[in-house]
């Protein structure tokens, strides 16, 4: 079982390249948008 993230605390930042080759960094959305992170269960 993985370690769950605590609520009401800063979400862990990350930076990865998306499917179109653009860098996506969580902190880039700060003060701009809410972020809905969806952890996919695999493509079906």
């Amino acid at each position: 079982m993985g370690k769950r993230i605590p609520l009401e605390k800063p979400a862990p930042d990350f930076s990865l390249t998306d499917a179109n080759g653009q860098e996506v960094r969580l902190s880039d959305f700060r003060h701009k948008a809410n972020v809905l992170l969806v952890f996919n269960r695999g493509f079906v």
Partner: protein, 113 residues
């Protein structure tokens, strides 16, 4: 994923960026995104860096990753997390949208206070 696409404009109205993270590689993501014309961000995470960081559960008995959903508000704070215990254990969009609406109202109140 089809439900997310269907309600995409509702998420936009709540000033929310959707990022779908999965263990597949960039090629698989690109193919799937193009085939399904998905309007939101797909983030391949083949090294499982974010998946581990956020504690997505792997159920060895059910042979797969359990779905999980996390809402991060505009301050970068994690405000909602749903870790599924089964493949179909995903919160309804309506529930997620309602939570986002509450967060936006709260942020507005904070600004005008």
């Amino acid at each position: 994923m089809a439900q997310l696409r269907q309600d995409f404009s509702k998420f936009q109205a709540q000033e929310t960026e959707i990022i779908v993270v999965g263990p597949e590689d960039a090629g698989a993501f690109k193919e799937y995104w193009q085939a399904h014309k998905l309007p939101f961000t797909g983030l391949p995470d083949p090294t499982h860096s974010i998946l581990k960081l956020y504690g997505q559960e792997v159920n060895l008995f059910k042979l797969g990753r359990m779905p999980a959903v996390v809402i991060v508000d505009k301050q970068g704070i994690a405000r909602f997390a749903h870790y599924g215990h089964a493949m179909s254990d995903i919160p309804e969009n309506e529930e997620v949208l309602l939570t986002l609406q509450e967060l936006n109202e709260e942020a507005l109140q904070r600004r005008t206070a």
